[in-house]
């Protein structure tokens, strides 16, 4: 049961809340975390387009395995500048 820290930004932060710990089944991947969040808050489904993930400040993909203590960031399309 890895416990990871979830950090969401922009509209996703508004829907999912401030950074928090979340426990996932053994062997879970980043994509499984996203599926868990979709079940928790179905409105995030509409935000999947262009979404990127980062694990410990490095971009990763949905197949990346989760490890205890990982910080997983949900990065919607950027709007800086």
């Amino acid at each position: 049961m890895p416990v990871v820290r979830l950090v969401a930004f922009a509209r996703l932060r508004e829907l999912l809340g401030e950074p928090r710990a979340i426990a996932l089944p053994e062997g879970a991947k980043v994509g499984d975390l996203w599926e868990t969040l979709v079940r928790e808050e179905p409105r995030v489904t509409a935000l999947a387009r262009g979404l990127r993930f980062a694990r410990n400040e490095a971009l990763c993909d949905a197949e990346t395995p989760l490890r205890e203590g990982d910080e997983i960031s949900l990065l919607p399309p950027f709007g800086g500048g």
């Binding site: 930004f9 922009a10 400040e57 990065l75 950027f78 709007g79 800086g80 500048g81």
Partner: protein
């Protein structure tokens, strides 16, 4: 190289001073400010920016490294503000100093384009009518 995410108002002059060296004859500054009207003409009350600060700073370093690799004489600063900004305030400043102007223009333009494309920063436009909207940069299209 001055590469920062800041919460306080941006002082462009102090950034230029930090970048300028006696060997640099050309300095190009790009400054993005909060406009009073959105692209659709709606009155804007202000903006709110947020960032994955560590990743944004890392992206600034990556951009600066790429500039240095192709234009080693350029001195570069990238500073982006986060939090709540009012109309007219500076959201982002990119300053490039170089011995000659061609490199200064090229570096500043590259840096702001790259920032918009790859720095994890988000912008919420807040309209006078009360609506709030998270805006995405249109990458690969006509730059804003």
């Amino acid at each position: 190289m001055l590469l920062e995410i800041v919460c306080d108002p941006i002082d462009l002059r102090s950034i230029e001073s930090a970048v300028l060296a006696p060997g640099c004859g050309g300095i190009v500054s790009f400054c993005g400010t909060v406009r009073e009207r959105a692209d659709d003409g709606r009155a804007v009350e202000g903006l709110r920016y947020e960032a994955h600060e560590a990743m944004a700073r890392a992206s600034f370093r990556e951009i600066a490294d790429e500039v240095r690799a192709t234009m080693p004489e350029v001195r570069l600063a990238i500073v982006h503000r986060i939090g709540a900004l009012n109309v007219g305030e500076i959201a982002v400043a990119v300053v490039a100093a170089a011995p000659h102007r061609a490199e200064a223009f090229a570096a500043a333009r590259f840096a702001i384009d790259a920032l918009k494309e790859r720095s994890p920063i988000w912008k919420q436009e807040r309209y006078c009518d009360g609506e709030r909207l998270w805006l995405e940069n249109r990458c690969g299209e006509e730059p804003r």
